[in-house]
């Protein structure tokens, strides 16, 4: 029974990590209606920045972490300026296709700049887990869970309660109308990409702490995809619940069903849940229902 409860807790925390990465999807989507297929690649770019500042430059974590977040923000800004800013006013489909191209480009760039070697990632969170009686909780996941909840509360407040956040939502509705109302479309979208890149870097630190770093770590982007779609692409708060549900379902499947059937059903379960909810609610659990008057 203790193991079962422990698996539920660990699953929920892994789900919150997925939610943090999915937050990058949602922030960019809420500001531009663009689904960023290169979100996983932003995670590895962030991971390599942390690795570079810590392991290559030899900076202490207290210095390298804020520096990495700043650098990641600059990368997000540069991506938006180079690839997306000229597409403002064009169809959303064009921008989405650019993110598909970005996925391939960023993966190639990482290979070109850093090579394919598997590298040790710095230990950012203590390796020793937190013991609660017979249960154990990995420190990186515990810290990640707390960070995810704080980030979700903060971003929900930002998007729903501040003028800047509401302006970004207006930009997502219609670039031309937002521009005509004096809102800086370029500025809003650029800010969203900066935020998306920073969230991805925090996700990389939690995900990779004390483990290994390769360009294949970008797969976490695909793991976070069902969480984003399950929650609904506009809902930041909804990501928490969606992440916890998917994380627990995946953990229980991996630990109790997979050994019986001899297969990795755990990796499929998030997508089954996602498809099931999309059949019932095409906008996701907490996605906006749009009413159009003709």
């Amino acid at each position: 029974m203790v193991y079962f409860i422990n698996d539920i807790i660990t699953g929920a925390l892994i789900g919150l990590l997925y939610a943090l990465v999915a937050m990058g999807f949602v922030v960019i989507y809420r500001a531009s209606k663009v689904f960023n297929f290169a979100q996983g690649e932003l995670v590895i770019i962030g991971g390599f920045i942390v690795w570079f500042t810590t392991m290559q430059l030899g900076l202490s974590l207290w210095l390298s972490i804020p520096l990495s977040l700043v650098l990641a923000g600059l990368v997000g800004y540069a991506i938006e300026r180079i690839f997306l800013t000229k597409l403002i006013g064009e169809s959303v489909f064009s921008m989405v296709m650019v993110t598909v191209g970005l996925l391939i480009l960023l993966r190639g760039l990482v290979l070109l700049l850093f090579g394919p070697a598997v590298r040790p990632f710095p230990i950012i969170f203590p390796l020793k887990p937190l013991f609660l009686g017979d249960m154990l909780i990995p420190m990186n996941l515990l810290a990640g869970g707390i960070i995810t909840i704080v980030a979700a509360v903060g971003l929900s407040w930002f998007f729903n309660r501040t003028r800047s956040g509401l302006r970004m939502t207006a930009v997502a509705e219609d670039h031309v109308v937002a521009s005509s109302m004096g809102i800086s479309v370029k500025g809003s979208i650029a800010f969203a990409w900066v935020l998306g890149a920073i969230l991805s870097t925090i996700g990389a630190m939690i995900f990779l702490s004390g483990k290994s770093l390769t360009f294949l770590a970008s797969d976490i982007g695909f793991a976070a995809l069902p969480v984003a779609l399950f929650a609904g692409l506009e809902s930041i708060g909804g990501l928490i619940l969606a992440g916890v549900i998917i994380g627990i379902a995946q953990s229980l499947t991996t630990n109790y069903l997979d050994p019986l059937i001899g297969g990795s059903l755990g990796s499929v379960v998030p997508y089954i849940i996602m498809l099931a909810i999309l059949l019932v609610r095409p906008t996701g659990l907490f996605g906006w229902r749009t009413i159009e008057r003709v």
């Binding site: 190639g108 590298r119 390796l127 154990l136 483990k211 990795s264």
Partner: protein
């Protein structure tokens, strides 16, 4: 069109060097020239070890051309093809490879090559020579794809039998295995060992079979289960990232359970990813091939020859040993085929027949491989199977055991 690979090329290789190299003129100095198609992964999961692997096998082909090939009047040309370790990519490349090279043999990489080409090669009558251990799902008679080593399950079963013998006692050895459905080969590793444990309950008690992703988020809880089940060994023949995550999980639990790795995710690769070989002190790698330890062995001496005289730049490691052994048994079979049929008009079919005609001796492979006796019954030798065991001792790779017998593992 000899396209030489060096470790320094790394990612650039995949980007375009091969395309440029394809335009290089043929270096046909001997009377007869035959082509080999080399399948490689410079941008997929094995991109980290590929430059070393392919550089090593190419060095063997260069060595053979300058020695035996010259005597026989034959030059072997070779060309690398980037497959990204993807069966679909291999399948789509194959018609082009065949029409461009008309190879007498393919030098393969891993499971996706087997999945993509196992039906095509018998029709095209071209054999493929692998370097890795074999797979249970490809354990069929009349194969055109060959492995110098038995299946991963044979290798892990041999290691566990050896470990039990070292431990002493009659009770079965308790072990756990990590698997992943990311690749059919990873599932295969677990399936074979599960069957072996089922059929040999007095030898092995498989206490946990854990499925995970190829880049696991966290394995602390899973490693606690392994420790609490009393596992005396943890088998991880999948990839380096799973070894790292499992090791961290064991360390977090204060558990000291030896990990067995294979050749493609062996001690140097996993140690590098963990930040140093010392992290793997007391862990093992076991496979049916020479261990790349610091000791002076015939295999090491041959490696030094390749470095000194044939431009090999790869370090002495298990991946280098894998590339060299693959190259050596490939050229040994081709040499046999030429001796049987003459240098002219050699075909893939003749090469395959030569493989069955007589054993490839350990001397021919400079001790990298045991004597290999192939039969049409299986894609790997069914008799005389041996594995070698390496470990980390005082921060260095050392040979722990050689010529360990492989127990009887039934087909699954």
């Amino acid at each position: 069109m000899i396209c030489k690979t060096t470790p320094g090329l790394r990612g650039l290789m995949a980007a375009g060097a091969m395309a440029a190299a394809a335009a290089m003129p043929m270096t046909a100095q001997a009377e007869e020239t035959y082509n080999l198609a080399l399948l490689s992964d410079f941008s997929g999961p094995y991109a980290d070890i590929m430059p070393i692997w392919t550089g090593s096998r190419e060095a063997v082909f260069d060595w053979w051309n300058e020695t035996s090939g010259k005597d026989l009047g034959v030059t072997l040309n070779y060309k690398n093809y980037e497959t990204r370790y993807d069966a679909a990519q291999v399948a789509s490349l194959w018609p082009g490879i065949k029409s461009e090279l008309d190879p007498i043999a393919v030098v393969g990489l891993g499971g996706p090559d087997v999945a993509a080409l196992s039906e095509r090669l018998p029709e095209d009558k071209i054999p493929m020579f692998m370097a890795t251990a074999a797979y249970g799902y490809a354990w069929q008679p009349d194969s055109w794809i060959f492995n110098p080593r038995p299946t991963y399950s044979h290798e892990s079963a041999a290691f566990l039998a050896w470990l039990k013998e070292q431990r002493g006692g009659d009770e079965p050895l308790k072990a756990a295995i990590m698997a992943s459905e990311a690749s059919p080969a990873y599932v295969d590793m677990a399936k074979g060992l599960e069957l072996y444990a089922e059929e040999h309950p007095q030898e092995l008690d498989l206490v946990e079979v854990i499925y995970t992703e190829v880049q696991p988020t966290d394995l602390t809880a899973q490693m606690r289960r392994v420790a609490r089940a009393g596992a005396e060994a943890l088998i991880i023949q999948t990839n380096t990232s799973i070894v790292v995550a499992a090791k961290r999980g064991l360390q977090a639990n204060g558990a000291d359970i030896p990990i067995l790795m294979s050749s493609h995710n062996g001690l140097p690769a996993s140690g590098g990813a963990l930040g140093g070989l010392d992290q793997l002190e007391g862990d093992y790698e076991a496979y049916g091939m020479a261990v790349a330890a610091d000791e002076d062995t015939p295999a090491r001496q041959f490696y030094e020859t390749l470095v000194a005289e044939h431009g090999l730049e790869a370090p002495w490691s298990v991946v280098t040993a894998m590339g060299i052994s693959q190259g050596l048994y490939t050229v040994a079979v081709i040499g046999h085929a030429i001796e049987e049929n003459g240098a002219e008009g050699l075909t893939g079919e003749m090469v395959r027949e030569a493989l069955f005609a007589r054993p490839i001796t350990a001397e021919e492979t400079h001790g990298f491989l045991p004597t290999l006796t192939f039969t049409p019954d299986a894609p790997f030798p069914l008799e005389g199977l041996k594995v070698n065991v390496g470990t980390v001792r005082d921060g260095k790779i050392a040979i722990e055991a050689t010529g360990v017998d492989v127990p009887d593992v039934q087909k699954w």
